[in-house]
Amino acid sequence: MRNCLTPLFAALIWCVSAISAAAVEVKAAVLRVDYQTLLPISRYDLRPDDLGFAGAVLADEDNGTTGGFLGHTYETAHIAAPPEQADAALDQILADGVRLVVVLANAEDLLRLTDKAAEAGALVFNATAPDTALRDGECRGNLLHIAPSRAMNADAVAQFAVWKKWGDWFLIAGSNPADVALAEAFRRAAVKFGAEIVEDRTFEDTGGSRRTDSGHVLVQRQLPLDTQDADDHDVVIAADETDYFARYLSYHIWTPRPVMGAGGLRPVAFHGAHEAWGATQFQTRFEELAGRYVRPEDYNTWLALRVVGEAVTRANTAEPDGVRDYVLSEEFGLAAFKGQKVTFRDWNGQLRQPILLYDGSITVSVSPQEGFLHQTSPLDTMGLDRPESGCTAFE
């Protein structure tokens, strides 16, 4: 029975309360790199102009309300730049004296920007890049990952499949590098949790637009042919991070089976219909200011800035090193509408978090699943655990 009645704690709390006289101005920036991409398969997935930024606005409001009682103010700049101007945009952010930067970019750009930020002593939060390598050999000591890794997402799906006793998988992978990487994450997850990939196929990306007027006519004829003669399987696992075929799989595959991964039941950090654990209030606050439903990019940006806000509130620091040290410490824990506190892995800077399994309209389940145990935290059953990660930047 743990019981911590200590004057030390009381002193700590009153330190924090007493600082209301000493104002802290917290300046942060969100840098979003906008790539040329094809339109998504579904109109529902069209990118809003304020993607990510809307999460930052909400975070400033939420942090600012708390800050109002403590004398802390929060101001976050929003910058969108094409890839060729991303470096210049970061230079400007750093020149403006900002040392806390949330980045929405691909892994390659993120790493380069992170290294540039490191020269100025700035701390970077990764809000989108899922590459597991960034949590492994390619990690950086000034880079914290809010976005779940591909490994975490794949493990979240794998646990649900295994819980359902859907042990035989038909893996259909896309042909782009991101799809190949996701497929590899699913193969690792199958080994990790004892599932078997009985059929492993690639669905070639032959280019072109992703939806055409009445394109379903051809899809309906072609997909059954592409998916016939597969070994007996319980579930189809789609590895399509570039979003060109997986959304079409349900109902069009040869053998009637549930689809998971990039189509059907998808792992997401958050979605606009999630209501459990008080999330309804987050949704209504977000919709009121953004006039649309939240996307994972918005949630991740909000969460990155809430991490900063929590460090400012509890540790009374907005310095990059102070924030980093506090959030990596055992003291840190943040409520994030996922039923348990989120914390950071101190071996690679990844945020530990439950993963929502989403069918496009509701939260179907939340991983980690019951029965997947771990000596530290069940959340560490998803993604690179301490012994698996090759990251040394946090030692």
């Binding site: 029975m1 009381a10 709390i13 309300t65 009682f69 509130t313 409520a335």
Partner: protein, 323 residues
């Protein structure tokens, strides 16, 4: 359906003044209020309680039942004898929890969506004040002298002490993640604030003038239960101030705490997802709402043992008792 008919028949038998005490349970999913006889522990009846009924309390004289109908954005009012619905009270949007002052005139309501505490006059049925507080106000406690109302805000992680004289916030105290409930001791010298995600109860001593000072923090540990499932939600202190009972949510247990030394003495196994608590007026029994097993657990307070469970409606949330 059969049992409902039976319950209604039973209600005819036991209704009327002077009979045994009653417990009212709000069923969040079932949109009903279950009424239980606290002598026989039989269900008397179940009636429509508004859409998504959560916070539930009674007027000091025990005649009126107030229910936060969260999805209706109003407070529904019922007669505790006839269960007849009386005119509703304005609550502000999405009311979840509230407290009533001992005089029975003013209700203090947490509006989760609007970062406000709404003060409603139960006689004139008007809103007297709206007090801006932290993000996602939730827990509401009132000091026994009625001078302070304590509101906890779930995302700001503070307890806000609001003066009932001028509706201004006089003190803010940081507590652990997602504070849910604030409970004073009967003599008003101590305040407990539960933090669901933080997994702790913050303990404050309260000075004569109402000023709080943090004196400790209670943590919980149950062998075989993951620490992240030990989520303190509802809490009640015995009238003598000796024992604090804390509902631990998905850990399916109520912790028994020495309210003076703050030592955790025991964990009582109850139903699933235990949420809110209330004593019977004589203090003999503590009732717990168990949201995922659709029942309440009756705890013998002196023995600190669960003695029985009573099936109620779907997803019970709050409970209140009368003589």
């Amino acid at each position: 359906m059969k049992s409902l008919v039976f319950s209604i028949a039973l209600a005819g038998l036991v209704a009327g003044p002077g009979f045994a005490g009653k417990a009212f349970v709000s069923n969040e999913r079932g949109n009903t209020i279950t009424v239980i006889d606290t002598d026989s522990w039989e269900v008397i009846t179940e009636f429509f309680g508004g859409n998504r009924p959560r916070g539930i309390t009674v007027s000091p004289d025990g005649t009126k039942l107030y229910v936060c109908a969260s999805d209706d954005n109003i407070l529904r009012v019922f007669d505790t004898e006839t269960y007849e619905e009386l005119p509703s009270l304005p609550s502000g949007p999405d009311p979840e929890l509230f407290v009533i002052e001992p005089a029975g005139k003013r209700l203090y309501i947490a509006n989760e969506d609007d970062n406000l505490v709404t003060v409603t006059d139960t006689e004139t049925r008007t809103i007297l004040a709206e007090v801006p507080v932290g993000v996602e106000p939730e827990g509401m406690g009132i000091s026994p002298d009625a001078k302070f109302v304590v509101n906890t805000s779930e995302t700001t992680n503070m307890a806000h002490f609001i003066s009932t004289e001028d509706y201004q916030i006089k003190h803010n105290v940081l507590v652990d993640q997602r504070p849910r409930y604030a409970q004073y001791t009967k003599d008003g010298t101590r305040l407990f604030v539960t933090s669901e995600i933080g997994g702790t109860v913050t303990v404050m001593d309260i000075a004569e003038d109402g000023t709080p000072s943090v004196v400790g923090k209670i943590g919980f540990e149950v062998p075989g239960v993951l620490p992240e499932w030990l989520q303190p939600v509802g809490a009640k202190v015995t009238a003598d101030g000796a024992r604090l009972f804390v509902a631990l949510g998905p850990a399916n247990r109520v912790a028994v705490v020495d309210a003076q030394s703050l030592e955790v003495l025991d964990y009582i196994l109850v139903g699933q997802r235990v949420w809110q608590l209330d004593f019977t007026p004589d203090g003999k029994y503590l009732l717990t709402t168990n949201g995922n097993s659709n029942d309440i657990t009756v705890i013998d307070v002196a023995a600190e043992k669960a003695v029985r469970s009573v099936q109620v409606g779907q997803q019970p949330w709050g409970v209140v008792t009368i003589d």
